[in-house]
């Protein structure tokens, strides 16, 4: 959602889209339409690119819309919370967390390691060590009320 410098006037758009399913008016339609992009075009390309992914997996996507209304997009790995909920076998994260509230799920360090390995492949993680990413995943787990055990 930021504007680039004068000439191209490109704008960035950050969305989370379920893999293989797109176009619904609420999330994507208006957001793209405002920038003059035909949502059908995006949806076709997106669904095509994500055809190897389990249907419905939420995928963050960053769409760059150039001044002449052409667009490119980059797909990233699913959100960490998505992985953690699946690994812990729960539908939703905790409503409340802290010492007075019980955990709602449990993951072990090996699962954390595997999640971190997937996240490491993302562009934005290039400067982080795998250990750092693991620590981040553990932090996410704690804030969702998921206990991390050995």
């Amino acid at each position: 959602m930021s504007k680039k410098a004068p000439a191209a006037a490109a704008s960035l758009l950050r969305l989370v889209v379920p893999a293989g399913k797109a176009t619904p008016s609420p999330p994507i339609g208006p957001a793209l339409g405002q920038r003059g992009v035909k949502s059908m075009d995006f949806c076709k390309q997106f669904n095509d690119r994500t055809k190897n992914v389990d249907a419905g997996t939420p995928l963050p996507v960053i769409i760059t819309v150039k001044g002449d209304r052409t667009f490119t997009f980059v797909t990233k790995s699913p959100p960490t919370s998505f992985f953690l909920k699946r690994a812990a076998g729960i539908e939703k994260g905790a409503t409340n967390i802290g010492k007075d509230h019980p955990f709602v799920g449990k993951v072990n360090l090996k699962q954390v390691y595997e999640i971190a390995k997937i996240k490491q492949a993302d562009d934005g993680m290039g400067h982080l060590s795998l250990k750092g990413i693991c620590a981040g995943v553990i932090g996410s787990a704690k804030s969702m009320g998921i206990e991390v055990v050995a």
Binding site: F83, N108, L109, K110, Q111, Y113, E114
Partner: protein, 120 residues
């Protein structure tokens, strides 16, 4: 042009053989001066997912499968320490560690904020 490192508490401008030289304080830890003389304790943590367990929920590709857990030794050493509060507390207690100073600073800020809020 940095002519010398010094681990004493002096930081600033120094004259060394008639040349002005900027010295910075460097802690032993940041110079990676590791004290490995003490024998490393054998890892006591045992994973709840022994080798061969299927790690569910990780795979999200159609043609992929959930990864299988390897033996505990196949994972890097740091993995068993990052969730260990004892390791973290040891770092906070060690005055040469950055974590010690970060935590001290954090507590000082909390104290200041508390006092400031009390006044109003």
């Amino acid at each position: 042009m940095l002519k010398s490192f010094t681990s004493t508490a002096f930081s600033g401008l120094r004259t060394v053989s008639q040349q002005q030289v900027r010295c910075i304080q460097v802690s032993a830890r940041s110079l990676n001066v590791k004290d490995d003389s003490a024998p490393k304790a054998k890892r006591t943590v045992v994973s709840s997912a022994p080798e061969g367990t299927v790690l569910k929920g990780i795979n999200y590709m159609k043609d992929g499968k959930d990864p299988v857990a390897l033996a505990d030794d196949a994972y890097p050493e740091w993995l068993w320490e990052i969730n260990d509060p004892a390791v973290r507390n040891a770092r906070i207690a060690d005055p040469l560690d950055k974590k010690h100073h970060k935590e001290a600073r954090r507590q000082a800020i909390k104290g200041d904020n508390f006092i400031r809020d009390k006044k109003t």
